[in-house]
Symmetry: C2
Subunit: 137 residues, 2 copies
């Protein structure tokens, strides 16, 4: 359904090129996080730099957000009204050590934190690691 992903890009002010549509549709289909490396493997005829810039563009425009999972960054579709102005879908992420998939825990509440006096909090990075329902048991 190319038309809907074109709209998706347009809504975030991203010019819809072939590559961008492919990457977006890949993210939409898989419903799981993707790293630059995964995209390289998936779109092996494309170039690493192009994929890299595609991700960076998507992220800047508020279409996806990156999560650093022990060394590599994976990217997930934003769930709220993220835009160039900023990302507002702050939530924990779960990384399965079995299948290496990362999923958003959108429903989980981000806990409050008490910092020492004078400290200024800008960002919270919360990664839970373990095994997903398919890999556990």
């Amino acid at each position: 359904m190319k038309h809907s992903s074109e709209k998706h890009l347009a809504q975030h002010g991203i010019h819809p090129t072939a590559m961008r549509l492919l990457v977006l549709e890949y993210l939409l289909d898989n419903r799981t996080a993707a790293s630059l490396g995964q995209l390289e493997r998936e779109f092996y005829r494309s170039d690493k730099a192009t994929l890299y810039r595609t991700l960076k563009t998507f992220e800047k425009k508020g279409l996806i957000h990156g999560v650093n999972v022990g060394g590599t960054t994976v990217y997930l579709l934003c769930r709220e009204n993220c835009s160039e102005e900023g990302h507002f879908d702050v939530h924990p992420h779960f990384f399965c050590t079995g299948c290496a998939k990362t999923i958003c825990l959108s429903q989980a509440k981000m806990p409050r934190f008490d910092l020492p006096e004078g400290f200024d909090l800008h960002e919270v990075n919360l990664i839970l690691k373990g095994r997903c329902d398919e890999c556990a048991g």
Copy 2:
């Protein structure tokens, strides 16, 4: 106070070499996290691989624990009875984007998390980012 750091190493079953004592004392003095890169700069006449193995040995023996802060790993002294058996001083860490220092938030309680049914939690990684009291204001 070389004698006390020698004991410190001995308590964790680590043979006290010159390099190990230097690294441990550096960690004790600075009371802040150190990355491999920082150690390389501090002990520029030593070798990267040696420092790397020193950190790995310390970590395995429960003397320090590593925290991944956006791409690089920093190491901090353990606060509890960590040993080869495992690390038990699980707590959030604060990374200051001003001075790039990482500190343990030992006093902060690790929050509980509700995972979806069937998920198995092994590890929680919680990094707060912002500005410390010296860099804020």
